[in-house]
Subunit: 416 residues, 2 copies
């Protein structure tokens, strides 16, 4: 069994240790919520000053060209593509995950409507992140063409749920609650065998686990940049479409940024060739520009090295919670099998909400998800084995002492 001294020694010789230097993290905080909002790259403050004081303040309208604002979605998309197994000019950073999901959902359903209009079912997990489900509901409600959701309770039930009626299989690669990591290649192959298309939501996998969209033969992917990619609060999302599908249909949010000639000011829409047609309206440049600071923090490593560290971190947390908190009613809901585990670890506790509040007060920042789930994210870029050790110790203290029973921890506030 590892000791805290072992953790210190391993941290000291960790080849990724210096990456933590790129981030600003408060003293006395163990931040295990980078899977919800990534930490701030130190470079972000100066980059924002540059965008605002120089590019906006001095360059004014000219900065759309001279500072490259207009090209940011494509430029950042190319930088991000390397992390998800996508090619050059195949990704744009734009809009929100929900909006991008809407674009690819409509596109996928239109492709299927041309191939086999009887396919009307969208298969996903009942425990998928709610917004993914809600966006399908909104779309089906609008179209009134008989589309419906099939919600699957357990990952192992997915294969049986995909059949000849299935238009789209829409899966979040790493489940936001459980941390379950789906087998993208196997599920995509299965979907294709059944004639279905796949949409992969990469929110909880991009920057956390190696993703290989083209290797898996995936069809569509979307995701956010504000979790493991450290782009900043609510920073714009991304969208990828397999090149063979990209030009088959319009996506419906056909704004001027997606036009073949944006400044032609023509009275008819003509979608741009390539992934540019997945752009819509004018983008929030300050937030968008800061995505680059987040992506830059990946420049000195690769996803394989990050994956190894991520597994070492989650392995240690699972082992330490078992050793230190075994007397308490904690249930691990994250898979033990490496191949099925993302980069966060979730435990159920009957009073998970209160325990998380007590942890936060002690400086260990995890988060809570309904119902009963305590969630801990391990960002390999800036989390140390010692942090993991200490977090498990503090969790043990709080459970042993019953500190979480205090009224201020039990009272529900809005959570994020």
């Amino acid at each position: 069994m590892m000791t805290r001294e072992d953790c210190l020694a391993l941290d000291a010789c960790d080849p990724l240790a210096e990456l933590r230097e790129a981030f600003s993290l408060p003293e006395e905080v163990i931040y295990l919520d980078g899977n919800s909002l990534g930490a701030r790259p130190k470079a972000a403050v100066e980059r924002a000053r540059q965008v605002l004081a120089e590019e906006w303040g001095e360059g004014l309208i000219g900065s759309w060209n001279s500072a490259g604002w207009r090209g940011l979605p494509e430029r950042l998309g190319n930088q991000l593509a390397r992390l998800i197994g996508a090619g050059e000019d195949e990704v744009v950073v734009t809009d929100t995950t929900s909006i991008n999901l809407f674009k690819v959902l409509v596109a996928a359903l239109r492709v299927q409507a041309d191939r086999d209009p009887s396919r009307k079912v969208i298969v996903t997990e009942a425990s998928n992140f709610p917004t993914d489900i809600y966006m399908v509901e909104g779309l089906a409600d609008m179209l009134q063409q008989g589309y419906s959701l099939r919600l699957v309770d357990r990952p192992e039930d997915l294969p049986a749920a995909i059949g000849s009626d299935t238009a789209v299989v829409m899966i979040t690669q790493v489940n936001y609650k459980t941390g379950y990591l789906h087998d993208m290649a196997a599920l995509t192959a299965l979907a294709h065998e059944c004639g279905a298309l796949t949409i992969w939501d990469l929110c909880h996998s991009v920057g956390a686990v190696p993703v290989d969209l083209k290797g898996a033969g995936a069809d569509y992917a979307i995701g956010c940049t504000y979790k493991y990619l450290n782009g900043g609060p609510g920073s714009p999302a991304f969208v990828w479409v397999a090149p063979a599908l990209r030009e088959l249909v319009w996506q419906p949010l056909s704004g001027w940024w997606g036009h073949a000639r944006q400044f032609g000011m023509e009275p008819r829409y003509e979608p741009a060739p390539g992934i540019g047609r997945y752009l819509c309206g004018t983008q929030p440049i300050t937030s968008l520009a800061l995505v680059e600071c987040g992506l830059d923090t990946f420049a000195k490593t690769d996803m394989q090295a990050l994956r190894e560290k991520s597994l070492a971190l989650t392995d240690l947390f699972i082992a330490r919670v078992k050793a230190r908190c075994g007397a308490h009613p904690l249930t691990l809901v994250t898979p033990l099998e490496h191949a099925r585990r993302g980069s966060h670890v979730s435990f159920e506790h009957p009073e998970g909400y209160a325990v998380i509040q007590a942890l936060i007060e002690r400086g260990v920042i995890g988060d809570y998800r309904e119902p009963r789930i305590m969630r801990f994210g391990f960002t390999p870029l800036y989390t140390r084995l010692t942090d993991v050790w200490d977090a498990a110790e503090i969790l043990g203290d709080i459970l042993d002492s019953g500190a979480w029973r205090e009224e201020r921890f039990m009272t529900r506030k809005q959570v994020t």
Copy 2:
């Protein structure tokens, strides 16, 4: 006829003169493009530092609650509502103009489908900003339910184009090319008489002319915050829906931010009561927070005072260009009538593109719009009569000398 000395004297006693102090504008630049990208409020740099260094860097995930990030769309919406004649809790700042247009278009068409499904026409101006037209095309193409656009060439032809087949009249209150200011109350009344609903795009009117949505009985409105509202490049847009229409239907982009209980993580969508249902996904907080700095610059004045100054500025520019540049082939396309004029002035010139490039090199920043239109925006918050005088003089110099004929001005670059 006014002299430059008169301009100096009037500027000196202008009660709005001190408002310019809130903005950072480069020396030696006469900025007449605030109708495309507003100038930078000085406060924006410090606000960004605060959001990034303190709220993100120190507060981390907790800032969604403690720094009020989650409530920004509603809070900014209330601040903006006062400028457009909307009520408390009726506006949210979110997403892009194009996306918000899609939401209200679908909502309006659904309301009409329940009332009279035979109404399938969306009436707008052929010279409306292209993205508005493109979004209707994308929607009609997706729905395949027989919706079509009716494009009207001249404002005076609008009444004849609205009839018993009309579902929606979608008008940009101030035309982006011509500066024509539509009569919102009269057109809305006419649309309602014909059984049509109205969507008002306020991009070129909000913060520039008094807008009274509720007084006019309007149905839906959208607009941007990065022009006269000075929110920053690509800052998020806004949406307003008449309370009587708001809860009749879902808008289709039904993401988690629009759910009645966002953090309930429920597997079924239930739209929030009120304008909150027009939210969709997680917003770009840095860009969103800076909208407040722009809105704050309106605190020391009111739209009536700004309107008076705006008309003085555009009157002077029209008069000075006539006096100083009368020998050249310039055609005023902006109405002379005050009641029909927004806050920008456009002239056609056969080589408008080159003339604008030459002006920019001389420090007078206007912009060019296809075909042949030279556009000059007059933001009453920070533009002086002397600026207007000097801009017309420099335009005269360039036209007299033929400086715009140089090759570097004639060569087309991407324009914004």
